[in-house]
Symmetry: C2
Subunit: 271 residues, 2 copies
Amino acid sequence: MRVLVTNDDGVYAPGIAVLTVFLAEAGHEPVVVAPDRERSSVGHAITLNRPLKLQKITGPYPEAVAAYSCDGTPSDSVVLGLEEIAPDIAVVFSGINKGPNLGDDLTYSGTVSAAMEGLVFGRTSVAFSLDCREEDGERHYETAGTFAVHLLKWLSDNPLPTGVLLNVNVPNLSPSLVKGVQITRKGIRAYEGKVNRLQDPHGRTYYWVAGRVEDELVEGTDVWAVAHGYISVTPIHLDMTHYPSLEILCGRGLAEIDLERRALPDRESTS
Amino acid sequence: MRVLVTNDDGVYAPGIAVLTVFLAEAGHEPVVVAPDRERSSVGHAITLNRPLKLQKITGPYPEAVAAYSCDGTPSDSVVLGLEEIAPDIAVVFSGINKGPNLGDDLTYSGTVSAAMEGLVFGRTSVAFSLDCREEDGERHYETAGTFAVHLLKWLSDNPLPTGVLLNVNVPNLSPSLVKGVQITRKGIRAYEGKVNRLQDPHGRTYYWVAGRVEDELVEGTDVWAVAHGYISVTPIHLDMTHYPSLEILCGRGLAEIDLERRALPDRESTS
């Protein structure tokens, strides 16, 4: 099967190389289009105000693999991959990300957003992330790569519901230590103390964003699953409408706001 | 009421100035923290790999308004605004964006993503966008500004459901021509022909992403409402889990994938 492979860690990152090699060794035909440098946490950014270039590379890929670097975002890479390089490709795999994409991190994630872009194009789309930390010595990308091959086989028999992509998070364990696969919902991952205030060598204040992760470990969620040694698979869609609120807001008169009536109490008395 | 005001068109854009002036004139206390330049379509990007700076500016704002430019994204501006500048602020208004944020554009939008960041911090958060086009001569930011003042009053009596923000799109009409307010769900806005292939003066190929908008005008959606002269208000949440798929995926054996069993047909026969 032909698969468009992209990521947000950049086209030379180890995760995307492992994903590509595993797919190729399983007899599939991966085509790589990925950012020329790390573009983590860029969200669903797309480049509209400047031109983009594609460059064919050899990189860390098997010789038979067509690979391109793109000077834009992960989503740009998917757009160019699907419109310019390989319009016939039906599957988009994004990853393997160095680090998890859990809870509310999804909208920040370049890895997941690239899969969202695949979904916008109507393709079968999956984001893969490895739940490793900066300080981890070993990174078990091979576990995610193994799962990706199994999942691709499963997907060929089981098309996803329309408008749904899969967000996969793999625990940083060797395949034999993984407890299994859980289908999960979004959990809660909060960041405490997001902003660090520092001083530059000239004595001027600057800030660095980095928070301490605070997970709510509730069974059935993505954060619980990977924390307990399971591969987490979360079905994601792009409709962020909160449907229960539609009726609530109507019932409270929001739709009756009249722009011609002055809203200010101190002016209402004179109007 | 104190309101953190941000945007993605940059701190000197006309839309954010109108929003700030309307709030100030209505007796509220806006505090502006916004990107130092245009950061449209950056999505929920957040800057983790380099430091950020804040600079106090006077800009196009009333003298009493505290205003800061930030060398990061819209979401960075909200993080710094709420953690460093004004931690006591309960309301985040993002906009008024030059151009609409409808349908699937939400995840690309810096304007909406800034409101998402406000929601992550537990604040009452609203994104405002004006449905104007590049070729429009007149831009009725005053209509969105007027609605923002009305909405702030409404919000003071009607707290939003937990975890919900409002995505407001205002038609490019003077207030007297607006037909009313509709509470809407996400509609479908597709882009045809996203990639334009061009040649630079050296004869090398480059690409520019820009598509022709294709709306599905279905009543009850955001795209329908603004196309018909209504202000569209869509309640948005950050949980992108597609709940109906949880059971579907479980039923099809996805959770039974075993990493130790080889997935490859040609290897299975030998294992």
